[in-house]
Each structure stands twice: as structure tokens, then as C-alpha cells.
Symmetry: C2
Subunit: 458 residues, 2 copies
């Protein structure tokens, strides 16, 4: 939250206060109060409140929420709470809620539920809804196809603007989106796209072929994040999704694209801190669940840190002779870690937005090496004088030289590892941070003691 | 990039190959080739190519890009390259390009340019465009108002659906968006909103008041990220923006909302690695610019790391007696740092999506403390046996106990600092990581040596 004016803050606080009041009244006055509470509120506050409720009142709330709000809030809850809500609602109501969802939301919801629960709900859907759902789930996990709504209006290319508009008028209410209308040839292949705005502002007798644009298309088996980025880059309200033979599958809408990007951001944040993504809201997650999502990474990191113990063990004699060397160990490896993290974060971001490619390896590593030397020289100089307060000037010299080398090393490794990961087809964000830390910590200590050996003559 | 099928990968690689071919031909065959290259390509590839070009050919490319592609690509370039392009294009062409931008894009572009260059361009605009731009720039930086397009179609509440549709038909081409139509009372206050879809599917004689929905509104002085999140949460194509008195200012469109979220994500990534955000693409950034964006943070962190030197200096006598204690220093503070980062990342995320609020301080810190104890007990137990290979069992015991305490400490501090920052009105992501590291490293060492003193009797 980079900025917020005092006035906006005050308005927000006031909204929160009146919400608190309403909540208190709702808790005293039961259903009528709850209804008033949920109807008036901002969607974000509704979701927030639902996440904090106990399972039974949460399900009760879904019974009285206006349809649209309820569906949006349900989608926002995430798999674990969705399963709870459907469980609490009971068979018939759960099926009604699931049936009301847009086809792609429905498919992803069912996919996130325990198998048995999903099977029962799928069984309860109409035959058409069931078939639709199964078609969507046939696309690979995390592909564009999983987010593609088949409920769209499309028109044959040999019609006029007026025909197309009439089709939108009569069938548009049931479609998830009508703002992007794919134009099809006789084999259902997408040959163009026309916006609803163009249909309205153009002359009604114009043939569609004269107003349609060349379509930007997405393949259903493309990665969901690539698809979402495409929608964002083009500032599109939706992009037609096609199969191998360019036949229309549906549309990836901008709100689904935003949802994908949010999920991916969440995943990246979690990864960069070496933890698992939470599948339920924080306050609804138990201590054991939190610990479970973090412990494996920590164990791996502790194991990797064993390398630093081994290096130090090898230089124990040196340490015994010049114990002041130990004073600077945290500073040295901390600095190396920070420089490595800066490089890695820059390079991972540049790879993600395709400013650089895996083939730029040499240029990027070279640039980071030069940056690391620049930073290392600066920091090494700065550290020298203060270091002499705690140790001999020769030890301070060892520190300064080590800072220089470690920064250069950390910056190059921080660039190298993400690019190698990308080349190997692994997400650069997954393994980079821990690997970089391990490599930089251990080799940094090695460098430190080798330089100490040279300078101090041990 | 979490998933990508082999087929999608192959299609992508093929597109890149044909692009490389086209580029080679363009470089040999000049303008005609360049035109072919830029016209056929995916927008992402066009932007990518523009970022890698030298200033002169980059400006030349803008002369031949199709209008829409050119404008989208220009917006994506970022302030530094935008200034270069406009400089290269020369006075008249630069003004034409700036005039073609949507009003809010134009205002933000001018705001990002050097003052003198912006003044010259502003001077060259039509009086109406200039006034429009100045109005947008009157909103505070990073507020919703800066992203609000005034070019929208709105209708008085006393008209019919048919009237509204006719207005869209006649004035819609000049508007940035027509899919969300604000409905106004006689004082220009927004009293409702109606989607273009509803206008088309409803009966033409219906009064607007019967089909309009209660509007979700954004205040122009609200923070841009809060606004963008609102658009995303509601899955809206656009949300009306109003002033203090609920009078229409314009619409925040979904593509601008996505752009805001991208910028904020970029900023968060940079912050979490303690570096400045790049204002030009990676390959176009010099080593000195890269170093400058990172060096201040590193200096602060090195300074803070001085605390660890001071702590170790105080326990130098202990270290001299039991030099094996030094072996585990990197492992101990590394583990503390990782646990702290996990907590902080979880809490910062939960604050950002409003799953928790600053008032939940006790609940959150308590939960993280419990999680830290769980993790610390696990890791402490795991570390004990391997530690005995390198040191006495009493030193291994010191390590295990210290891991327990440090994890508990790191998890609580990692939760506490972001929440305190939020309470103080500071962005929790800015200061958290370095502060947590400093606190945890120094107190962690203190804990280690205090426990060593107790257990070893020194």
C-alpha cells in the first residue's frame, strides 16, 4: 500500500466502524441483522467476515447473501473453506450453489474438493452442466483451458453486424461475457474477433468481415500464467481460447486473468520465503498447519547449512589462532546473502516479464559480476575502518578483501542459478533462494579463510 | 511459470524462431522488413524487441507500428525509455503520439518525464487535452485519480434504456470504455451503474432506474492499489470514480487496474530483496545504475550487521575457550533468518489481502510464537546428533536449545514488525526484512552465548 490520503483513510475507518456496529447488532438480532450486515457491505468486507466465521454461521450466511455476491465470495474463499461450506449446506443446497457458478469456476471448485465430495456434487448436476465440467477438467491443471468459459456468444463470419447484435440480445444473458465476440468460419475456427462496442457503433448492415479484427488467440493447453499475462498486456476484456486446430473452446476473461495473476503472485511470495502457500485464510489456519507448510524447507536449509559447519570445522585451527576472525562471520555471509538475493530477484523478475531470455546467460552473469565487484569494492572500503576497532588491521584487510570477492561471487551465482533453472525448464523462483544461500555461505567462508591464510600467513 | 505443456512450448519456440528470422530479414531489408516484423508479431515480442533496440531504430519503429499496438507498447516501456522515444521522435511527432494516448496514460507519461520535456509537450497539446491532463495531475501521486479516464459515456437517470444505448452508439467511439455506464442525477452524482450487456438485452423502453444496479464507487483520492484490488475482487470491467461529493470523475478500467497491480507487485518484489525498482528494462540498465539501486540498502544492512560484531566481540573470551561454538554461528543465524522471513512473508501477505488487521496483533504474534516453538523444537532435535560429530555433546546441547529459542524469537519478531509498521502507517513490506534480520541475528547470538554460559559453566 504505497500511498493513502488522510481523507481516504478516514472514510475507510468509518466504513469499518459502521461494519463493526452492524456485526454487533447482527450477533444480537440474528438473521435479519446478518442479512442487513451482508447486503450493505463491500464485497471485500463480506469475504473478510466469512473467513473469520465458524463453519455453521458461514454456511448460513451463504443462504442469505444476494446471488452475485455469494458466488463471488464463494470463489474467493479457496478450496479448504469451499469444501466446508458445501459440507455444511447439505446435498441439495450445495448442488444449487455449484450449479450457479460459471462453468470454469465450477470445474476448478470441484477439482479442489476431496474426490468423494466432488463425485457426489458432479452426480447431482444436470447432464449438460456435468458434461461441460468434465470437458474443462480434461485440460491439464494450471492450463488456460481450466479458466476458459465455454458460455460465450460467437457468430459465423458470413453474417452482418445487425445479425451479431441480435444474437447478443437474445443469448447474451446466459453468457459469461459478451464484450468480445469471436467470429467463426464454417469449421468453428476463429477467424476474427469483434468487440461489442464496435458492433454497437458500426452500421447494422455492414458484413462482419468488414469490422472484425485479426484475433489474438490463446491455446487451451498454454500455461495459465502466460495466458493471463497476454490478456493483461493487450488490455483485453477477454481473449478467445482455441484447441489445436484453432476451433473455439471459449474465452479467457479479464477477471479470470486477474485471479490467475493473484494466485501466481501469492505462490511466488510464498516461494521466495521458502514456505508453502496457505490454502485457507491465516486466522483459520492452525499452528500445526502453519508449521507443516514451513518445516520441510527449513529442514532442507538446515541440512544445507551443514556445509558451513564443515567448512568452519576444517579451519578450526586457524580460528583458534586468530579468534577475532569469528567476529565477522555473520557480517560476511549476511552481506553475501543480501547481494545474492538482490541479483536473483532482479534476474527472476526480468525472466518472468521476458526482458531477458535463458540465451542471455553470458551477458547477464557478466553484468551481475561487474555489479557485484562494484558493490563489493564499495562495501569492503566502508567496512575497513570500523573493523579495525575490533581487530588488527591485517584482519580488517582480510575482511575487506573477502567482502569484495564474496559480493562478486554472490552476484554472479544469484544470476546464474535462476537462468540455469529456466534453461532446465524449472521455475526459476522455486529453487533459487535456498540454493544461492547455500552456495554463497559455504564458498564465502572458504574464501574468507583462504584469504586469511594468505594475508596472515597461517 | 508453473506449468507449460510440451506442445505449447513447441509452438512458442516456433513463434520465436520465425520472429528471429523476420528480425534478421528486417535488419538486412530495412523499413519494409521492419514493418512486416512489427505488424505480424505478438505484442509481448514487439515490446521485448523495442526494449532491446538502440534509441534511433526504436523511434523509427514507433513511426510504423499500427496505432493501437504503438500506443500499448509505448505505455509498457516505462518512464526512462518513454522519454528517449519522445526525444528521438522530435517535437511534432512526439506531440502527436502523446495526444493519441488515453487521457490518464497521457497524464502519467508527462508526469514521468523530465520537467522541461513535459512542459514543451503539454504546451503543444490542444487546449482541451491540456486541461484534461492538468485535472488528472491534480490528484495525488499513486491515487486512483491518476488512473481514471474522464472519457466515458454517462447518462441522466431519467432516460430510458434506448436513450442510453443511442448515446453509446453516437459517442462511444471516443470513450475509453463503454461497458460500464454510470447513471447520474441532476447534480452529476453517480446514483447507479448499468452494464452495456444489460442495455442490450433489456427492453428499449424500460426506464434506466429499473435496470441500473446500486453502484460500487471509488474515491479519486483513494490509494491506487486499494482501487485496483476492488476492481479485481468484484470482477468488474470498470468502476466509477467520484469526488468528495459523489460526482462522477470517470472510470477506473480493468486494464488500468491490472497495470497498477503489476507495478505494485514489481515494487514489492524489489523491496523484499532490498533493492530499488528498475525504471528501465534490465538489459538497458548499466552496471552503475544497477549498483546504485542496491548499494544504499546494502550499506544499511552492513551497518546493522555491525551489531553482530559487537555481540561477538563481547563474548570473545568465551569463543577463545570453546572455539567450536563458532562452527555453528552461520547455521544458527541462518535458521533464525529463514524462520523470520517465513513469518514476515505470511503476515505481510495476510495484511495486504486484509485477512488480518493491525488490531489482531496479539492473536497473530501468539500464533507465530507457537509456530516458532514447534519449528524450533523440531529443528533443534534434528540438529543435535549431527552437531555431536563436530563438537562435544554439551556444545551440541547449547546449539539445540539455542535453535529452539531463536526460532521462537524469529517467528514472533517476524510477525510483530510488519504489524507495528502497519499500525504506524508505514508499508509493512518496506522496513520489515532488514529490521527482522538485524534484530534476530544480534539477539540470536546473544541467546547462543548466554545459553553457552549456562550450560558450559563459563
Amino acid at each position: 500500500m504505497s500511498w493513502r490520503s488522510r481523507r481516504a483513510r478516514a472514510a475507510r475507518r468509518e466504513a469499518e466502524r459502521s461494519w463493526e456496529d452492524a456485526r454487533r447488532r447482527a450477533r444480537a438480532g440474528q438473521v435479519a441483522g446478518l442479512r442487513a450486515l451482508l447486503r450493505g457491505a463491500d464485497l471485500r468486507l463480506v469475504i473478510d467476515e466469512l473467513e473469520r466465521m465458524a463453519p455453521a454461521p458461514r454456511a448460513a450466511a451463504f443462504r442469505i447473501l444476494p446471488r452475485d455476491t455469494g458466488l463471488r465470495a464463494f470463489i474467493a474463499l479457496g478450496p479448504a473453506l469451499q469444501a466446508e461450506v458445501l459440507e455444511q449446506l447439505g446435498h441439495d443446497e450445495a448442488i444449487r450453489l455449484v450449479a450457479d457458478l460459471d462453468p470454469d469456476d465450477r470445474a476448478r471448485t470441484l477439482d479442489g474438493l476431496p474426490d468423494e465430495q466432488a463425485a457426489v456434487l458432479l452426480e447431482g448436476l444436470s447432464e449438460e452442466a456435468r458434461r461441460e465440467t468434465e470437458l474443462i477438467l480434461r485440460h491439464p491443471a494450471e492450463s488456460v483451458g481450466r479458466w476458459t468459459t465455454p458460455a460465450v456468444v460467437s457468430v459465423p463470419a458470413d453474417r452482418t453486424v445487425g445479425d451479431a447484435l441480435e444474437l447478443v440480445r437474445t443469448t447474451g444473458s446466459a453468457a459469461e461475457t459478451v464484450y468480445v465476440v469471436p467470429v467463426l468460419d464454417e469449421l468453428s475456427r476463429v477467424v476474427g474477433v469483434v468487440s461489442l462496442r464496435r458492433l454497437i457503433t458500426a452500421d447494422q448492415a455492414t458484413p462482419l468481415s468488414a469490422v472484425m479484427r485479426e484475433p489474438i488467440l490463446l491455446r487451451a493447453d498454454e500455461d495459465q500464467e502466460v495466458g493471463a499475462r497476454l490478456v493483461r498486456d493487450h488490455g483485453a476484456v477477454g481473449v478467445p481460447v482455441v484447441d489445436d486446430e484453432d476451433r473455439l473452446v471459449g474465452i479467457l476473461t479479464v477477471d479470470d486473468a486477474m485471479h490467475v495473476l493473484e494466485l501466481e503472485e501469492d505462490e511466488d511470495t510464498a516461494r521466495s520465503a521458502s514456505r508453502a502457500r496457505l490454502d485457507r485464510p491465516y486466522l483459520g489456519t492452525s499452528v500445526l498447519q502453519l508449521a507443516r507448510g514451513r518445516v520441510l524447507w527449513l529442514l532442507a536449509l538446515v541440512l544445507a547449512a551443514g556445509l558451513t559447519v564443515t567448512v568452519l570445522d576444517r579451519f578450526e585451527a586457524t580460528l583458534e589462532q586468530v579468534v577475532t576472525l569469528a567476529l565477522f562471520i555473520p557480517l560476511l555471509i549476511g552481506t553475501g546473502g543480501n547481494v545474492g538475493a538482490q541479483s536473483a530477484s532482479t534476474v527472476i523478475r526480468a525472466l518472468a516479464v521476458e526482458e531477458i531470455r535463458a540465451s542471455d546467460l553470458l551477458a547477464v552473469v557478466g553484468k551481475e559480476l561487474a555489479t557485484g565487484v562494484t558493490l563489493g569494492a564499495t562495501l569492503g572500503l566502508v567496512a575497513y575502518l570500523p573493523a579495525t576497532w575490533f581487530a588488527d588491521s591485517s584482519v580488517a584487510l582480510v575482511l575487506s578483501l573477502s567482502v569484495l570477492v564474496v559480493c562478486a561471487l554472490a552476484a554472479s551465482v544469484g544470476a546464474l542459478i535462476p537462468i540455469l533453472a529456466e534453461r532446465a525448464g524449472v521455475d526459476p523462483a522455486v529453487m533459487s533462494a535456498p540454493l544461492i544461500t547455500t552456495v554463497v555461505d559455504a564458498t564465502g567462508l572458504l574464501v574468507y579463510f583462504l584469504i586469511a591464510g594468505l594475508v596472515l600467513g597461517i
